[in-house]
Symmetry: C2
DNA sequence: CGGTTAGTACTAGTTTTTTAGTATGAGACC
DNA sequence: GGTCTCATACTAAAAAACTAGTACTAACCG
């Protein structure tokens, strides 16, 4: 049997990023941002699709919903850093068998990270 | 319509990693390694499943197959670095909107990368 | 108040991804 | 030569991921 993804799927992540950035959001808020974005790629999305996705995210406990005047207001149930951290870990496991160094090398070589960038990060680490 | 993944899917990647590590492999080679691995998680896989996956990888031009005495011999059609690099880029785009620094911070904070590790990487970069 | 708008619940379809069965053939084995 | 093993081709189906329609309700608007 095919196992279910242990982290956020692509669409789930896109929605979560919007909610994180807004602290709280209704289905309509997310819907409108998504629609605007997709216009650029000549795609579209239905309001009910967004609703369904957000309901799933609620069931998975990534979102929490509060009753409000009119529409439900959704808020993140987990901090962004925690969730993204888990995604990074899953990626490192899946692609690099758990070791982070090779990923680092890729980042340096292909993403224009300067020596200075690294030194700055190293300082953060050094302080700990 | 749901778009098709632009990079390797999870199972595709697992197979590709095996072939990369072996330079060349038959369906049976891959099948046996996969079976051994899955035993540990009480899962299993059918020979024909592996065959189907490798055929798909051939169609997607990640693998090339050579006629041989008995079974086809599959070889990577693209170098590991190139493909993994594309996966890193896709991940950085999807999760971090294209900027690599936040990923770096996650790596440092959660994957026990020492100041020394970073300095070593920085040297590589410095040489360029 | 009657119609329109905006929301939810429920249901269900499509595509991708993953999985595997069945038929068939070539060569090894006796 | 007959059978057994191992390979491929073809087919298809289940699960996950994504998408969206329809029915119904509340509230807003004239």
């Amino acid at each position: 049997m095919r196992p279910r993804s242990s982290t956020l799927t692509e669409q789930e992540l896109e929605i979560m990023k919007i909610v994180w950035d807004h602290e709280a959001a209704t289905v309509r808020d997310v819907y409108e941002i998504l629609l605007e974005r997709r216009k650029l790629e000549s795609r579209t999305v239905a309001y009910t699709t967004v609703m369904t996705m957000m309901k799933i995210l609620e069931q998975k406990e990534y979102l929490r919903k509060d009753e409000s005047d009119r529409a439900f207001v959704y808020r993140p149930a987990q901090p962004k850093g925690t969730v993204i951290g888990a995604m990074v870990r899953e990626f490192v496991n899946r692609v690099f068998n758990g070791s982070a160094e090779p990923l680092l090398v890729h980042l340096v070589e292909e993403h224009n990270l300067s020596k200075e960038d690294l030194e700055e990060i190293a300082k953060i680490r050094g302080r700990q």
